[in-house]
């Protein structure tokens, strides 16, 4: 399943360089992928509780001759659109819309494709009041047991819990210059050293690149980008993502649901690095 081509971009890209590429304003965003690889996209709106969050888009589309539910963080391509889409930082209602669409997909037997591209979940006062923590937690819970295949592709920034809330998938793919991090490097630098300017150090230490995360067994595949980054040849970037999605979706739809869910359980249950000393003989192995 791995078509690991040798990295085509100059080999000496630092993690911080990749952070810049992942955030490049010209990088294709979610809707370009949806329109590039799917047909008949019908966008669905609203969480039925509070509002419609433009930082997450979702709806049904035809992909590879079947109907899928596509859900993704949506950044803007200019300042105005970025303001409207809150720079791709979802509010609680965005995650609740995503959950609604996932349950919809489950009900009608549609696979779910999530496109990940967010700096983080929105951290403002109103989001706290409306339960940002709860919204993310509910998204994670929804995905753990969703009775349909889920594939997540990180197409830009995978920022913290805001990204994880759409990433609890059977397969996680990342583009070559995408990043996935426990927190934005600026935040990590601020948390650890009270100095956001040291983000490049944090980016190196965090192992947030696709290559690092593949080596750590967190993601399933790295999707190559054109030399210079996804924005330098948008059609070929989009086509490459479509091709890999098609292959993984075929793998997953071939599985029966019980196997799919058992594999999903095992995949996440196994994540963690610790030492287990021999002494607790009756402890679970």
């Amino acid at each position: 399943m791995n078509e690991q081509e040798p990295t085509q971009a100059p080999a000496e890209l630092t993690p911080w360089d990749r952070v810049q590429l992942a955030r490049h304003p010209q990088r294709p965003h979610t809707q370009e992928y949806i329109f590039g690889i799917c047909e008949d996209f019908v966008e669905l709106h609203g969480d039925r509780r509070f509002g419609d969050d433009a930082a997450i888009v979702g709806g049904m589309a035809t992909f590879d001759d079947q109907t899928v539910m596509v859900i993704g963080h949506q950044k803007g391509s200019d300042t105005r659109e970025n303001m409207r889409r809150n720079f791709g930082m979802p509010h609680p209602e965005g995650y609740r819309k995503a959950q609604r669409l996932m349950r919809h997909a489950e009900k009608f037997g549609m696979p779910v494709i999530c496109l990940i591209d967010t700096p983080a979940a929105d951290p403002n006062k109103e989001s706290e009041e409306r339960g940002q923590a709860n919204a993310i937690a509910e998204s994670i819970l929804t995905m753990t047991a969703l009775r349909t295949p889920i594939i997540a592709v990180v197409i830009g920034e995978g920022g913290s819990g805001g990204a994880l809330a759409l990433s609890v998938a059977d397969r996680i793919l990342m583009q070559e210059n995408a990043i996935f991090s426990v927190a934005p490097p600026e935040a990590t630098a601020s948390i650890l050293w009270r100095d956001a300017a040291r983000a490049p150090d944090a980016a190196r230490a965090l192992k947030l690149t696709a290559q690092d995360l593949y080596a750590l067994d967190i993601i399933d595949e790295v999707i190559p980008e054109p030399p210079g980054g996804a924005h330098t040849d948008r059609p070929s970037s989009i086509t490459a993502v479509g091709a890999r999605l098609r292959a993984h979706l075929a793998d997953l739809t071939a599985l029966d649901l019980t196997t799919l869910l058992a594999q999903r359980y095992a995949k996440y249950r196994a994540i963690g690095h610790f030492e287990e000393q021999q002494q607790n003989l009756l402890g679970r192995g």
Binding site: G131, V182, Y268
Partner: protein
Amino acid sequence: MKEFFRRTRKSFNSTESPEVPQIPDDLWIKCSACRELIYKKQLNDNLKVCPKCGHHMRLGAREWLGLLDVGSFSETDANLLPLDPLGFTTPEESYADKLKQSQQRTGMTDAVIAGVGSINGTWLAVATGDFSFMGSSMGSVYGEKMARSAERAADLGVPLLTINTSGGARQQEGVIALMQMAKVTMALTRLAEAAQPHIALLVDPCYGGVTASYPSVADVIIAEPGANIGFAGKRLIEQIMRQKLPAGFQTSEFMLEHGMIDMVVSRSDLRDVLDRLLRHYTRRTGVAEQTNHRVAAYTNGKI
């Protein structure tokens, strides 16, 4: 006998309360909220709740175990030790060193203590964080102990109580730490299949990836009065989002008002409330005695 377990029992049965800094000598402690000097014995008798202003001071994980029936707790997974999966080093510090220092300072291996114990005779799996160990940040060991606790509760057919305090995901374990949010939530699906409840207690402070995962989807969520609970830290909201925050923002009472938790319960009432809650679930699953035998067999086997 019954009286002993009622709320008149003012003390959890904690063995030794660790030293709190900023004490003039070991007899008096200054309340961090009202600045009054409190006689230490009086404070401990009052479960570390300030008798003057009601401020709930933080408890360590070992102290929290005093919530359980005397002698009922048996620890599990004490043999899990943290590693440094990313080789996280920066000019000033390495994660490996930081772990060593925290272990020496606290006498703990990592931030969570897990096990099985009872509250007023009802058995349950318990896992509790300790803020003094790297801010009770969630890394692999934290996640593994929580996940195993959920699975153990499912296997034994008993409820799960998690006591949660955390600064969030442990930065030094990167995405592996982030993924613990999914891992613990995944394990909780087993508990749900076993039709056993997860009761989450949120204590001061609880933030980030911990608040944004398993405790927020618990069946019952309880918080201590005045605890700071939220997703994004206040400093971030004020400095980066440049928003003014009202008094009482991100407190337990704020969470209750916004519908995010079930109740705010003061420490002296906790055992009583948990006891009443637990009885509703054990009544439903029937024969509590069978459960007790199962747990007794399990804990005896371990020792």
